[in-house]
Symmetry: C2
Subunit: 289 residues, 2 copies
C-alpha cells in the first residue's frame, strides 16, 4: 500500500462497492469521503503529511448522476478538510463502483514503517476502537439514526493526520493505521517487526457507543473493537521513555493515547485469543466480504 523515496511517500488504496462500502446504507459522498480519508490515514501512519492525490474511478454504466456527483463531492470535501490537492483522475466503467485513490505525502520525520518496533517498547493506540464496526452493524440493522456517533465513524471516518506526524516526531518506532482491525493490523506490525504483544481486553479503549450498539444488537463489543476494522486509529510502538512526550503532543490535539501492552519476542494475543483465532472468528462479514 505504501512506498517511499526522496522524502516523498506514495500510496494507493482501492475501495470497491459491496466490499468496502454499500449504497444500501451509504451515499456517493460517503464513499468518496472514505476513499480519500483511507489514503490520508495511510500517509499519517508513515508519519507523513498528505499533499496530492489522483483518483481512479470505476462507474457502472447505470450509475445515477447523483451518485457520481456525490462521489466527487465527497472526495472534494475530504480533500479540503485534510488540505490535499486532487490533481487528476481517470474514469473507466466496471460492474461495481470503485475508487483507487493514490496519494503523495511529505516527510519531516520518518518514514515510520511497520517493521521498526523492538521488544520492550510499549504498544499504544490513539482514540477509541469499535465505533466503525458498531456503526456498520447499526446501519445494517436499520438503526443508524439511533446510533449517530457510531454511524458517523463508519460513514465519515477521520484520519489521524496530525497525530501521525506528532507520533513520528516524538519517537514512534513502528506504526500502522487500523483499517483492517486491531487483530489483523497488530499481526502486520508484529510480523514486520519480529515482535509480539499480549493485549488484555480491559486495556482496549472502547468507543462508548460501540458498547451501546453491542448491547442493543446482542454483539460482543470487543469483537467489534478487535476484528471490526475501519476505525482508522493509529497503532504505534514507542520506547517507554517516549510515551510521556507523545501523549502530551496528542493531548494538544485532543486525542488520547492508550498503552495496550508491552512488546516482547514471540507471538501475539488479544484477550487470551491468538491472532489466528481472531482470524478464524473474523468479522470480515461485517465489512461486506
Amino acid at each position: 500500500v505504501r512506498g517511499e523515496a526522496d522524502g516523498l511517500l506514495l500510496t494507493v488504496d482501492v475501495l470497491v462497492e459491496g466490499v468496502d462500502f454499500d449504497f444500501a446504507y451509504c451515499s456517493g459522498a460517503d464513499a468518496g469521503w472514505k476513499a480519500l480519508v483511507a489514503s490520508v490515514s495511510d500517509i499519517a501512519a508513515m508519519g507523513g503529511t498528505a499533499r496530492r492525490a489522483v483518483v481512479g474511478l470505476l462507474l457502472p454504466a447505470q450509475t445515477s448522476l447523483g451518485v457520481a456527483e456525490g462521489i466527487a463531492d465527497g472526495v472534494t470535501e475530504a480533500a479540503e478538510h485534510y488540505r490535499v490537492n486532487v490533481v487528476g483522475g481517470d474514469v473507466s466503467s466496471a460492474s461495481e463502483v470503485g475508487l483507487a485513490v493514490s496519494m503523495t505525502g511529505a516527510l519531516e520525520d520518518g518514514p515510520v514503517t511497520r517493521g521498526g518496533a523492538k521488544a520492550g517498547e510499549l504498544l499504544c493506540v490513539t482514540g477509541e476502537l469499535g465505533g466503525a464496526a458498531a456503526g456498520l452493524a447499526a446501519l445494517r440493522a436499520g438503526r443508524g439514526t439511533d446510533f449517530e456517533d457510531a454511524s458517523r465513524r463508519q460513514l465519515r471516518p477521520q484520519a489521524r493526520a496530525k497525530e501521525g506526524t506528532a507520533l513520528a516526531r516524538t519517537g514512534a518506532t513502528a506504526m500502522i493505521d487500523l483499517s483492517d482491525g486491531l487483530a489483523p493490523d497488530l499481526g502486520h506490525l508484529a510480523e514486520a517487526s519480529g515482535v509480539g504483544c499480549e493485549i488484555e481486553v480491559d486495556a482496549i479503549p472502547m468507543e462508548p457507543q460501540a458498547l451501546e450498539v453491542a448491547a442493543a444488537l446482542s454483539l460482543d463489543p470487543f469483537e467489534l473493537a478487535v476484528a471490526g476494522g475501519e476505525d482508522f486509529e493509529l497503532l504505534v510502538a514507542l520506547p517507554e521513555n517516549a510515551v510521556p512526550e507523545a501523549r502530551a503532543a496528542l493531548d494538544d490535539l485532543g486525542t488520547k493515547l492508550t498503552v495496550l501492552g508491552r512488546l516482547r519476542p514471540g507471538s501475539s494475543a488479544i484477550g487470551g485469543r491468538s491472532l489466528d483465532q481472531w482470524k478464524e472468528k473474523s468479522w470480515e462479514h461485517l465489512r461486506n466480504k
Copy 2:
C-alpha cells in the same frame, strides 16, 4: 489524468477487463504491461520522466493464479524496461479485473500541457499510426499470428518515454499521447489550446502492417489510424523553427517525426471529416466498449 506541482508529476490510469483489454486475446502479463506503459506514456506526454508507481488491483474471486501472477509479471517487466520503481499496491475484489496505475514523474523541462499550442505552429506526430487498432482487429479475427507487428502494438505497446523529454527540451508547446486515437486526442489538444488543425489523410504516417490488416479484413486503414487509439505515439505542437532540432533529437532515438499540418484558429478536421463526424463513426467498438 494528470497534475503537477513542485516539478513532480502525478498521474493515474485505469484499465478494466472488457473495456481496455480482453482475456480472449491477451494474457495477464499483457494487461499488466499495458497498464504500466499507459502511465509512462502519460508522463512522457508532459515531458517528464517516469519515476515511481503504485498499482491498485481489482481481482474477481475466481481469477486464476496464472492470470494474477501474469499481471504482476507484466507490471514488473514494463517497470524494469522503463526504469520505474513500483513502491506499493493494494488489492480488492470486483467482478472484472482492473488495474489503476498511479505514477510520479520528474521534470527537467516543462511541464508540457495540452493547452499551450498557438496558431501558426506545426502539429507533428511521432512514429506510425494504426498499428494498435489493426492488431486488435487481427487478434479478434483470430489472425494475430499472421500480423505479429500489429498484434504486438496492441498487446505490448511502447511508450515514447525518451521522445517526450526530447520534445519538451526542443520546444514543444503542447503535447498529448495518442491513447484514445488521433481524432479524439487532437480534439483534447485543440480544445485546451483554442486552436484547430486540418489534417490531410496523406499526411498521416501509417504503420505498414495496418495497411496489410486493413486489406485482409476489409477495413479502412485510415479509420484504424484516426479513430483506433492505443498507439501511444505523441501528438505535439512545435513552433516551425523548432521542428528541425526536434526531428534531429528524435532521429537520434530512431523515431521519426511527421508534420501533420499547421495549427490555425477555428475547428479541426481529418481527411475532410470534422472531429464530431469522426466521433459519430467512432471505432470505440474496436476497444471493447
